[in-house]
């Protein structure tokens, strides 16, 4: 569990998000993506490979050009992922709350107004 949890935190990669955002609009080649992003073509290729092996992006050949597009199945996959993300998060919370509630003493009133940040 811990490994997965760490990974979930570690991989909110902004370039891959940008790639997916562009592909939401239309299928594109590596070159087209690289022109619209502040990264090199090899970097775009690398991100596409990660997205492709995760099943989120498909490659399609048109003549001599390779186009990448979102995998239409990715919405179902996404649902599954978010679903298990919440399942995991809630399981973590349940453990945390069971532990903290006993060591934490009596319930206090929740704060209901700004600001005063803890930490």
């Amino acid at each position: 569990m811990a490994d997965r949890v760490e990974l979930l935190g570690a991989f909110s990669d902004p370039t891959r998000q940008a790639v997916l955002n562009l592909l939401r609009r239309r299928p594109s080649t590596v070159g087209e993506l690289a022109r619209r992003l502040p990264v090199s073509r090899p970097a775009v290729s690398q991100h596409l490979q990660v997205l492709r092996s995760a099943g989120l992006v498909e490659e399609e050949r048109r003549g001599t050009r390779h186009y990448f597009r979102l995998n239409p199945k990715s919405l179902a996959d996404l649902r599954e992922h978010i679903d298990s993300m919440w399942r995991d998060a809630l399981a973590v919370f349940s453990d945390f709350a069971a532990k903290e509630s006993t060591s934490d003493g009596k319930p206090r009133k929740a704060r209901t107004h700004p600001p005063k940040r803890a930490r």
Partner: protein, 134 residues
């Protein structure tokens, strides 16, 4: 592709072995202590309507993940949710706390989750990819 249809909300619930008030307080006030984000940074839910959900990265950046739209202790909190993407792509998360035998039932309802798909696909998909590779 541009017009994505409405998707069924995602729902998950869990039993928590503590009183309702504790569950609500721990979920919100101690969000940063339990939210499974690894080393990504510190997280906080500002505890009032229109409060922000904030991630402070190790590098010192502050990112907004969402905004509290309903703050109703100890029963319910609702917030917009767009980790890794802009507020224009926010989904909505409702968390309800109800008394049940020996504790509290916490239910999460995540609507319009597909709008944030770029950020969340990446978040979840890349993690899966890494798990497969590991």
């Amino acid at each position: 592709m541009a017009n994505q249809e409405k998707q069924e909300p995602i729902r998950q619930s869990v039993h928590v072995d503590c009183p309702l008030e504790d569950a609500f307080r721990l979920f919100t006030e101690r969000f940063g202590d339990w939210w499974p984000a690894g080393d990504a940074g510190a997280h906080e839910i500002e505890p009032w309507t229109e409060g922000k959900i904030i991630e402070r990265t190790v590098a010192g950046d502050e990112r907004e993940w969402g905004t509290v739209t309903a703050w109703e202790p100890p029963d319910r909190i609702e917030f917009t949710w767009h980790p890794g993407t802009g507020a224009d792509r926010a989904g909505t998360v409702e968390v309800e706390f109800t008394v049940e035998a020996d504790g509290t039932c916490v239910t999460v309802t995540h609507s319009n989750w597909h709008l944030a798909s770029a950020g969340l696909v990446c978040f979840a998909g890349a993690a899966r990819e890494m798990m497969v590779a590991a």
